[in-house]
């Protein structure tokens, strides 16, 4: 018995097996997968609102398009750039940044990796390999403003925004215009949760503001406040009044109290961007999502259908058609 060659053989066999495995693995990753990297904002994928919507869209693409998906949540504002860069340096084909906070980082990294494709939500980055996914928030807000005015019995509606930034002012302006379209005498009370990114995640503050508004006679509040909106919903429950959700469909969170949600279909934007890029049809430049392509909309489902009588829905849909046809021009805070 000579153990030496035997051991050697076994070793060779194992090495061959290993190489085969490596080959198969690299082949599968080379051909089967279109790789997408998703860098979420600091809210993270469980905010039930903005980031959650982006994550859903990407997950849908993973299921239906068979892409390879990797998502990360940034740990600080200086981390966006290294994360985007790490995706670009690996063999990721499309890198998507969620939220306006990543604007500078995307601009910089996209310039350094001109062969890679990038996309960003809520910011306009002008580069040959970046697609900017922008939403006509004011159009959607206009419709829910009209719904609020049609529903309100007191002639007073409210608005609770998250962080006081132009983006949220844009929601507010559209909402007010929509409400005034239905009832020119209506009073619209706007409040904001704060001035830092903390304002997206401060439910007690949202609740406090909503309580004051409800006690002042307001009976419908539109919450465009990220996770702080849940405080508004709590207040609606305590005061038995109505609230309107934002970004994701939030009707299910408090059935019977959420009049409707203004949908901002970040999921749709992310999904179509991935699908188009995978089909080799990536297009750079700004892509706007409005009422016409259902990028913004209002929600009807089993949780709120009893709150929205046919007359209200009809009026809302009429306004929608008029905006799409250009007969109504919704005032835009960005163009003020």
């Amino acid at each position: 018995m000579r153990p030496f060659p035997d051991a050697c053989l076994r070793k060779c066999g194992r090495t061959a097996l290993l190489w085969m495995a490596v080959l198969v693995f690299s082949l599968s990753s080379a051909f089967a997968d279109f790789k997408v990297g998703l860098v979420l904002d600091r809210g993270g994928k469980d905010d039930k609102s903005f980031n959650a919507s982006a994550y859903e869209g990407a997950m849908k693409a993973k299921k239906e398009q068979g892409i390879f998906l990797k998502y990360v949540e940034a740990s600080d504002d200086n981390a966006f750039e290294p994360l985007l860069r790490a995706f670009a340096q690996k063999d990721f084909d499309l890198i998507i940044g969620i939220g306006f906070a990543q604007k500078e980082a995307i601009k910089k990294v996209a310039a350094q990796f001109p062969a890679k494709h990038f996309a960003i939500v809520d910011a306009d980055v002008n580069a040959p390999n970046v697609r900017s996914l922008l939403f006509e928030e004011h159009e959607g807000a206009y419709i829910v403003g009209a719904i609020a005015a049609l529903t309100s019995k007191t002639g007073k509606v409210g608005f609770v925004g998250g962080m006081d930034v132009p983006l949220i002012r844009r929601f507010e302006m559209g909402y007010e215009a929509g409400a005034k379209k239905i009832n020119p005498q209506i009073s619209v009370t706007p409040n904001f949760c704060g001035v830092t990114s903390e304002a997206w995640n401060n439910p007690p503050k949202g609740k406090e503001l909503a309580m004051v508004q409800y006690d002042g006679g307001v009976d419908v509040i539109f919450a465009a406040a990220g996770a702080s909106g849940f405080g508004v919903f709590d207040a609606a429950e305590e005061r038995k009044k109505l609230a309107i959700g934002c970004d994701s469909n939030q009707d299910w969170t408090k059935p019977g109290l959420i009049l409707t949600s203004m949908l901002k279909r970040v999921d749709l934007a992310v999904y179509t961007t991935i699908a188009e890029a995978k089909a080799g049809k990536f297009a750079a430049g700004p892509k706007r999502f409005g009422l016409a392509d259902k990028g913004v909309d209002y929600s009807i489902d089993q949780y709120n259908e009893k709150l929205l009588p046919d007359s209200v829905r009809q009026r809302a849909d009429e306004l929608k058609t008029e905006i799409i046809a250009g007969k109504i021009v919704v005032p835009d805070y960005y163009k003020k």
Binding site: G44, D76, N78, P82, L83, A101, M163, L167, T196
Partner: protein, 341 residues
């Protein structure tokens, strides 16, 4: 020898516990360790990012270590660095046309001054009013955050951005970034921080003032008997600490962002406490442990990216376990010292 060995053991223990957790989460510890290593030192850019995160940690580590030597616990580095950065950005935004060598020097002095003032307040309160610096520094952190929000959003808001940040500083204020790091924002702030560590060492072990600080830290009655005024020493120690923390603004504002961004610090001031504890409140140790924590902070994001099961939260657990075992070790020796005293 034990002085060097104990912190290393603490790190090893924390890392082992952390890797055990990743094992439970279904990720091979060896793989995790490899990623951490690669993330910190894998390329010039990665190493640059590690150095970028280490730079403020050296300064906040020193800002905790100096008062610690004088028997004070500075939890206010976060507020001190916030105001330091804000002051540097404010100077750069208010007087944007300023020639190069003068501009960064001016902004740096503003950062040091703002931090010093914010450190001196709790020092003075402790020395003259006897109110505890732990409470006061924590409260001053909140005031600094509120002040920074107000100045940023109502006085110096950048009109071209949705982010809560100040107007950009003038071009003359930007300091040199080292090219070898492939675009990672490693600036002159790094040598500045190392120089600060050297100066702190000289201050503590080669000057009368430093001797007096350590004397007060080790035994106040003995120091008093030797004719040292503990109140004066405490004010000075906290002022020096504030100035050191304020210097964080140089790397962030002049060497990286070119403006003050609300929430730019991932709690450098609090990680600085762990850095100082692990570094045994010695400048050399602080520099070394700042490098470790910088690498861990960089690694956290990459673990999330490169593994299937380790998310950002789990990488935070890893960091926390290391911090915990480090501080447990620090607490233990501190209590022992107390009992002996």
């Amino acid at each position: 020898m034990r002085k060097v060995l104990q912190p290393i053991l603490a790190v090893a223990l924390g890392l082992a516990l952390g890797l055990g957790v990743t094992r439970i989460a279904g990720e091979s510890p060896w793989h995790v360790l490899q990623i951490l290593w690669r993330s910190a030192f894998g390329s010039n850019y990665d190493f640059g990012m590690t150095l970028f995160y280490s730079t403020p940690l050296i300064l906040t580590g020193l800002a905790v270590a100096v008062p610690f030597q004088a028997g004070l616990f500075n939890i206010g580095a976060e507020g001190q660095l916030t105001l330091g950065a804000l002051a540097a950005a404010a100077v750069g935004a208010l007087w944007p046309v300023m020639p190069w060598p003068l501009a960064p020097v001016l902004a740096t002095l503003a950062a040091i001054l703002a931090g010093t003032v914010w450190g001196a307040i709790p020092g003075w309160l402790r020395a003259r009013r006897g109110s505890h610096e732990v409470i006061n520094t924590i409260m001053l952190n909140f005031i600094a955050a509120g002040l920074a929000s107000y100045v940023t959003l109502y006085l110096l808001k950048n009109p071209d951005s949705q982010n809560p940040e100040t107007r950009p500083i003038g071009a003359g204020y930007l300091i040199h970034q080292f090219g070898v790091f492939g675009g990672a924002p490693v600036s002159l702030a790094l040598p500045l921080a190392v120089m600060a560590a050297v100066l702190v060492w000289i201050l503590l072990w080669r000057t009368v003032l430093g001797y007096e600080m350590r004397a007060v830290g080790q035994s106040e009655p003995a120091a008093r008997a030797a004719g040292i005024n503990p109140g004066r020493i405490r004010i000075i120690a906290m002022s020096v600490a504030g100035g050191l923390a304020g210097l964080v603004g140089v790397g962030e504002v002049l060497g990286n962002a070119g403006k003050f961004r609300l929430g730019f610090s991932p709690e450098y001031g609090f990680i600085g406490i762990a850095v100082a504890l692990l570094g045994r409140n010695q400048p050399v140790g602080v520099v070394a442990s700042a490098l470790l924590f910088g690498a861990l902070h960089k690694g956290a994001a990459d673990l999330d990216l490169e593994t299937e099961h380790v998310t950002r939260e789990l990488s935070l657990i890893l960091q926390a376990l290391i911090i915990l075992s480090v501080s447990a070790e620090g607490l233990w020796s501190w209590m022992k010292k107390r009992r002996e005293a």
